[in-house]
């Protein structure tokens, strides 16, 4: 067994992600212009939008992998590990999106948080997947864990539209927030659009790289646990057989 979870494919993905990220940093700070209204604050966008995009991509991946894991009789654990790895990465990026978003909000709207439907739904989604990870982290038989977490991930797909719809309805009955409109118009010129797009690609590559590694790592973890159990059973068998020999 190799000592690393890296292969040629992951190295290629990792290196291109690193190069692209470096370009995004340079471009975001030095190439793109400041916004006419928001000034330099607009540069947060190059981290915020890709992070939010990756978070949603991760949760869609989790849902699809969970569906496969529940529907198929074979290789369920493989799909389950992909679902788990993707959810873990998704929570990380969603946390990033929430933090960068509230910093950006402080600069442009004057408040860290607004009870805007999109923000509120994202927050609920974040908490939901934190709960999902908490269930995954509890020690139990891998098959059982796979089934439970697949059910949870699919329920989350049901939950999110309902939460979103109810929050939209809730906000529409209230008076409009008096602070700046959340959809603060940012006019994107060519270099800004290109940097944003590079950011999305770079973050997606980082996501793929992390998920592949994390999924391989949990395969190794499961193997190691299985090996530990086998060793314990063998030791116990030995003990019993020596004792029965001694007794006879």
């Amino acid at each position: 067994m190799s000592r690393s979870t890296g292969t040629t494919v992951t190295r290629v993905i990792g290196i291109s992600a690193a190069l692209l990220l470096a370009w995004v940093v340079v471009s975001a700070f030095f190439v793109t212009p400041a916004d006419a209204q928001q000034g330099d604050a607009v540069r947060i966008m190059y981290a915020h939008v890709p992070a939010a995009w990756v978070a949603y991509l991760a949760f869609v991946t989790t849902a699809i992998a969970s569906g496969f894991s529940l529907a198929r009789r074979h290789r369920t654990l493989g799909f389950d590990r992909v679902a788990g790895a993707s959810a873990e990465t998704g929570v990380l990026f969603m946390g990033l999106a929430l933090v960068t978003g509230s910093l950006w909000g402080r600069l442009t709207w004057g408040t860290f948080w607004q009870w805007d439907p999109r923000l509120t739904t994202t927050l609920f989604l974040f908490v939901t997947y934190v709960g999902y990870l908490a269930v995954r982290n509890i020690d139990s038989d891998p098959q059982r864990r796979a089934k439970r977490s697949a059910v949870l991930a699919l329920l989350a797909v049901l939950e999110i539209p309902l939460v979103h719809f109810s929050v939209v309805l809730w906000r529409s009955l209230h008076q409009e927030a008096s602070v700046l409109n959340p959809d603060g118009d940012v006019r994107l010129d060519g270099s800004m659009l290109f940097t944003l797009f590079s950011g999305v690609v770079a973050f997606t590559l980082v996501f793929v790289w992390l998920v592949i590694h994390r999924q391989r790592l949990s395969t190794l973890q499961d193997l190691q646990q299985g090996a530990g159990l086998d060793a314990a059973i063998a030791a116990r068998r030995n003990e019993v057989s020596t004792r029965s020999v001694g007794g006879a």
């Binding site: 908490v127 908490a134 269930v135 139990s140 089934k147 059910v151 309902l162 719809f165 109810s166 309805l169």
Partner: protein, 226 residues
């Protein structure tokens, strides 16, 4: 449906004999109502928040009820026995849902009375239909989510805190919808009866979706280990 009623009857009988709702959950819920009033410390504010506080208290109480409902099943492997005696998982789900629903109805009557007495909320005869429909739809939604997520965490270590973490975000639409509809039923100035009924529609959709999801998921959750 016969099996579902049998399961519900069993759960309610256990409940009546053990009187957990009466001696633990109901006093807890009333205590929370009192504590909210103390924390807010302003009568107009309390009256404005009354509906929301009632439903927040219901949310906390669901967690207690559901834990109890599954502790009864996991002790002595009662759940395995039930499944071995050819009770369909779907029927089991609806049975436990029904039992939780009945208990939640009792509790909500108590809490609405609490809001009337402690917070000075008023319910006119004209708003009674809206209030009863709201309470029924919301209690059904709470019971279905509680029963479903209770089954997900049953038999796990640290299931108490886990249930809260998993179920509360899912229940957010119920909290929002039931609070607004109850506010309308309490005759609030900010929300009229028509939008109250719109919220009831949301609650009904929520209850239907999660009943169906629970019925579908229970088979997978209750499947014996390979």
């Amino acid at each position: 449906m016969r099996q579902a009623f049998a399961v519900a009857r069993k759960d309610l009988l256990i409940e009546i004999r053990a009187r957990l709702l009466l001696v633990r959950v109901a006093p807890f819920a009333l205590l929370v109502l009192v504590l909210f009033a103390v924390a807010l410390d302003s009568e107009p504010l309390i009256l404005r928040a009354a509906a929301g506080l009632v439903w927040l208290t219901m949310l906390f109480s669901v967690l207690l009820l559901v834990q109890r409902a599954y502790d009864v099943e996991t002790e002595d492997d009662a759940l395995e026995m039930l499944l071995t005696s050819t009770v369909e998982p779907t029927q089991l789900f609806f049975g436990k849902l029904l039992a939780a629903f009945v208990q939640l109805l009792v509790l909500s009557v108590l809490l609405v009375c609490g809001a009337v007495v402690l917070y000075g909320a008023t319910v006119t005869a004209g708003h009674l239909v809206l209030l009863v429909t709201t309470v029924s739809c919301a209690a059904w939604g709470l019971a279905s989510v509680g029963t479903l997520y209770g089954a997900v965490v049953a038999n796990m270590n640290g299931r108490d805190s886990l249930l809260a973490l998993l179920a509360l975000p899912v229940l957010a639409p119920v909290l929002i919808g039931a609070s607004r509809a109850t506010e309308a039923a309490f005759g609030s100035q900010t929300i009229d009866t028509a939008s109250g009924w719109a919220w009831v529609a949301l609650l009904a959709v929520f209850a239907l979706v999660f009943s169906a999801a629970g019925a579908a998921a229970f088979g997978a959750l209750m499947e014996p280990e390979a």
